[in-house]
């Protein structure tokens, strides 16, 4: 028997990979999934699809952008460039100010740890199969975006 280790992120592809394995004759009992807890310090200021956090730079930015846009567009009726340009300037200025406030807060006041960049391995998947199945299993895992693979042979 062979055991194949693979790492994945949480995604629909992972479930597709598992169901493909089952279709190809690997039984449920021979698939072992280990969802990982990712490093807690991993707080990204701009959230992505891979790692998210409610704390982000958008909250204060969006709030101030709206506030400054209202004031900018209002005062814009008297200024040479008119309300639309001043509204947009207000939006950009407010957002930048909010960004700087949050950056200052998270970088200086709260001094957070190093950020984990890019995609993270969130699940370890271990598949036990016969030696002749192992090539199929590996190609299924690769096709469903496994980050890394290792095949373990035991005598």
């Amino acid at each position: 028997m062979v055991q194949i280790f693979a790492t994945f992120e949480h995604s629909a592809s992972l479930e597709l990979a598992i169901s493909s394995l089952e279709k190809n004759g690997v039984s449920k009992e021979n698939i072992f999934a280990v969802p990982l807890t990712n490093r807690a310090a991993e707080r990204r200021l701009f959230d992505t699809i891979h790692s998210e956090d409610g704390i982000s730079l958008l909250g204060t930015g969006a709030a101030l952008a709206t506030a400054f846009a209202v004031v900018g567009a209002s005062v814009g009726f008297r200024l040479a460039w008119g309300p639309i340009y001043w509204g947009l300037i207000g939006t950009g200025g407010g957002f930048l100010l909010g960004l700087l406030i949050d950056l200052f807060y998270y970088k200086v006041v709260k001094k957070q740890q190093h950020l984990l960049r890019g995609k993270n391995s969130e699940v370890i998947l271990i598949v036990e199969c016969k030696e002749e199945q192992s090539d199929t299993v590996e190609s299924i895992l690769w096709h469903h975006f496994a980050f890394g693979l290792a095949r373990i042979e035991s005598n």
């Binding site: 709030a63 209202v70 639309i84 939006t91």
Partner: protein, 263 residues
Amino acid sequence: MDNLRNNENKFRRYKAHVSIAGTTQLHLRNPYIIAWWSAAFPGFGHLILSKYLRGLVLFVWEVIVNYNAKINVAMVYSFCGEIGSAKQVIEPRWMLMYIPVYLFGIWDSYRTCVDMNKVSLLAEREDAPINSYTIGALEINYLDKRVPIMSVLWSTFMPGLGQLHIHRLLTAFFSLIWTIVFLYFSKTLVAVHYLFDGDITKSTSVLDKQWLMYMPSMWGFAVYDSYINTVENNKLYEWEQRNFLIKKFQSPEFKIKKGKVVS
């Protein structure tokens, strides 16, 4: 048709519900940010909290009473320093009724947010299972991961599209319809057209102050709401899949074997 019916009532609190109209979710929110959105536009704070009926009523109330009291026009004049014009334009038959409801919106959304944060913590600790999938005659909705920045981008082009991106249908339809109303009556796009021609004076004069001043909050809200909900939906997806994997793919018979890595 949902893939999990919690009608046995075994659990006290559920942290999310996947329905035809969208994914409703409890998660921690900053009450000051919620209060701010209610101040920017009554109803927005409640809409972010997924309290749609209160939110929609407050929103429509704001449009009607603000329009008749001419709060927005008075605000423009005040910011321009033309206090005389501001006094003149404001409509006393409507103005005083604006204040209590405006303040109520801020206060109530703040209070609700603090309350819901407690409920959300309790639901998080109880860790009750949720349905992750629903299919019906009109729509299909399921937990999924989406790219947050795409929500921001589409909301910037047109408020409501970011919400459509993440299947938040009530806010999406609502934002789309009201944005059309605001853009049409404020003549914003006509003004933009004149700006492309380089005619700033004409562009300014064509704008309707009352209707224009509804727009900044509409835009800000649409971007913020679609963004945070995309992020939270992604987190919910990961939580649900994690529980699924632990439940189905951790057989006690499974043994890790010693051996050698072969390439």
